[in-house]
Amino acid sequence: MSTHDHFDPSRRAFLGATAGGTALTIAGLPSQALARINAPHDPEKLKETTEVFGFCDMCYWRCGLKIRSRDGRAVKIDGNPEHPNNWGVVCGKGNAGLMVAYAPNRLKHPMKRVGERGEGKWKPISWDEALETTAKELLKVKKKYGPQALALIGHGSWEKPYHRLAHAFGTPNTTSPVFGLCCGPRGLSNMMIMGRNLTGNETLDLENCKYFLMMGRNVTESLHNGETLGWVNGVANGAKVVYFDPRYSITASKADEYYAIRPLTDHAFLLAMINVVINEELYDKKFIAEYVVGFDELKQRVQKYTPEWAEPITEVPAKDIRRLAKEMAAKAPSVFVYSPRRLTRTSNDFGTGMSITILNTLFGVWGRKGGVFTPQKYKVPEIDLPEFEHATAHRIDSGGDFNYEQPEIPLAHIQDEEGKYHRADGAGVMGRWPIANPQYGLTNEMWRAMAEQKPYPIRALMTAGGNGFLNSTNYDIIRKALETVDFYVASDVIPNEMNMYADILLPEASYLERYDDLQVGGAREGYVAVRMPAMKPLHDTRDAWTICKQLADRMGLSAYFPHDSIKELLDDRLKKAGSSLAEIEKVGILKIPADPVKNFPLDHGGKLKIKTPGGSTKAELIPGMLKQMGFDKALDYVEQVRPNEDEFHMTFGRIGFHTHARTQDNVWTADLMRENVLWIHPEQAAKRGIKEGDLVKVSDRKGRSGEIKAKVTARIRKDTIFMVHGFGHWDKRMTTANGQGVADSNLASYAVDPHVGSMSMGLSLVKVEKV
């Protein structure tokens, strides 16, 4: 009662003053006591739904889902609690997946271009005509220029059948942005040194880690449910978080220590850490002795990289570097240096990546609890297929996904002895980008090859999802490539700037309306998961496998798609793995239980199996293969660009509820954030007369520019600006996203890492002025 007096003093005062006597209450006036009416009510009932299993397609982590449907319509996406990628949780964009299916702007019918390429004039055609035309045009190109004249760019979980179709067609030129535009240098670093790859669904024992040294791994905003939950659990379990980022992200807000490191200088900091760890003998001596070669040479090489050397470069105090190294060593091996997901920033991402791997190796985190675990794999054999015609195109897709294993380094010439072509983007080609992964290729270089028609003609392009413009950075090259090819066929669920150029547009069913090939993953548990349709396709759309199968049939490649339906394919694969489609449809996921002995062999008296691409059975701190090619110089620090007085480092990144450039037109995610804004430090803003919400012009040294609203915040360094990635769409078909914010990709650098061939997007320097 006393609280009530607090919150409503007027009530009593009034009554008290006016009543003037207690006699009045005889009439049964309302008493002062807060008495509530206890009356009957009919509480709302939950509506009945049916459930199917699936996995998400809103980002590339692919969480396990249970999709509820009612009345022939998917109504809610829940997480599958059994799936190790997310343990039942689903993020905001995952929940907004419904709006992919129900989007008014999605591609609904096969279309044929009737105007100029890129002009946006189309007419609807039948599927038969669309597939017939595509097959005819592709075969025309094959006849005239050879099969290698087809390039395939995929981005999405539906891309697998397209890669198979392209390989069957005979081209080696299939690529996905994941390597050259995203994780390439970091995957390669681990691969070269440890013979292992840490991208995909990260194999980090986050829950048990005691010390996260996070190099801009913004795990809360560039979020993957299982990974983020694991990290949050780790933090809740008492792990120390030391976070480095020029921007105070949400991850920074969770950190025990936050360093606003100077952009592009992570490598310098890491080298200084290595220096301290080695010189102060903080490394895991037993692990080094048993599993590592090249320690002494490394010791020599890092002598010059003292914390005092790093301090002015990174603006991280030398004493802190020493302290962090010691703190970390004290908690080792339940520690790790947490690499950023996308490592395509500096002019030496490969060196940065290798420093991270080296530090982790020095702390002996491999195969240890709280460190890096060894995943298990559910063995689901691929279907039996004829050999792919082209030697380097043999893709090891043992899972439902791609395998990142490095095949042998191929020959040095564009054309090999058998008259077959090497990749046009130069990935895995001696003399060009020999260490780049030819499974994924270098998407950026593929665009260049198309635009310049070098080293040989690429005359046909097929894209499966993706958006070349907003995921790459050199618009001129991409535009030229799209205008140069003879034939471009695009398949996707949503319209975007890239598929605007297509000659034939193939609309795909959304991931809620179709089956797809299996998801075979490796976590502590091995697993295989299924995607089932939660409803019939709303529009005249087809799933990727069916499109590819029907194209294959029309190009005489039926042998590569031997099944009559995707369901038959799934059943065939699952039967080989001792299960069946009917069985997996009941549970959604089949798993091999987690096994500490296999996941953490070094904690259980086991051994670590290492095989590096260089053939070593020990971790190579300075990979021999790189030395042969002279690429070991990547280990050394390379001076990075610095902005002039009036310039800024241009940085960009993710936010938890948008994925790349794919969700800005999704009504539900757009409702959370419709346009991106430019983060600028209050001092710099004041200097330019910029206030919160003002429109500002950002322009780089190349003369590219954009107009965007300002967010004035102390959460960013004075020499840096930031914007969220994926905005600034100009495709008029994207009615929600069109014209909202600025495309960071049009301001990011398109320099190339000299060793890997991946992009160095962070080298761009920009000016900001009030409009």
Partner: protein, 241 residues
């Protein structure tokens, strides 16, 4: 005089039935109405009442429905009565009872004050001015009840049908009207209740004969002569007494 014992019929049976129908409706509407208003900030009745009523009707939605059914029946019966008896009963009644000018209001108030004062033994030397068919208090009460009833009907209809027929989210004005309709509905009901207390008191305690008149329709001429001198004159002129 002989005519003092004479009873004359002043009301038709239908009017009497209407009065008691009206009374019954009021009883039901007050009982259900006070049961509907629930929240402590807006509720007048003590908690047990809405609890009892809403429990009895299995939820407030049903109670509201009952309230509006009684309310509409009440209005409907009145409307029919007025339509069919406008000339015979309603118009003369309105003519006699409505207080529409300030002068009339002053006169009626004065006579009401004197009447009330007499109850408490005050102003004994001031006589109540001679009254017509309806005395000052009755005329004031009648006028008030007529206007309050109109407000109650209009606001009640809006309170029930407004939310069903209008999209409140489209125009914030609809909600504003609703909230003020609630205020209007409640305050006019209170005004009527206040009047009714006097009405019932006089009928039950002071002037039992008038209650009888509302049962049988007959009043003694003596009573009229005493209470409604002007009316008596009128009746005399008309030759009814």
């Amino acid at each position: 005089m002989n005519d003092t014992d004479q009873m004359i019929c002043v009301r038709e049976k239908k009017t009497i039935r209407l009065h008691w129908f009206n009374a019954l409706c009021w009883l039901l509407l007050l009982a259900s109405g006070f049961g509907i208003i629930s929240g402590d900030f807006v509720r007048f009745a003590p908690t047990f009442w809405p609890e009892l009523m809403q429990g009895l009707f299995g939820g407030n939605d049903n109670l509201v429905l009952a309230h509006i059914i009684v309310g509409i029946s009440w209005v409907a019966v009145f409307v029919f009565f007025i339509l069919f008896n406008f000339k015979g009963v309603v118009f003369p009644f309105l003519k006699k009872v409505l207080v529409l000018t300030p002068m009339a209001a002053f006169k009626d108030t004065w006579s009401m004050v004197v009447t009330l004062a007499h109850l408490f033994g005050l102003m004994k030397n001031t006589p109540v001015p001679p009254q017509g068919r309806y005395n000052g208090a009755q005329r004031l009460l009648g006028t008030m009840i007529i206007f309050c009833s109109l407000l109650i009907i209009v606001s009640g209809l809006y309170l029930f049908f407004g939310p069903q027929l209008l999209s409140f989210s489209e125009n914030s004005f609809y909600g504003i009207i609703f909230r003020w309709a609630l205020v209007g509905h409640a305050s006019s009901v209170f005004l009527v209740i206040i009047g009714l207390i006097a009405h019932i008191y006089f009928a039950l305690i002071e002037e039992r004969e008038s209650l009888e008149a509302m049962k049988s329709g007959n009043v003694s001429v003596e009573f009229i002569k005493h209470h409604n001198a002007l009316w008596y004159e009128e009746l005399k002129q008309e030759g009814k007494v």
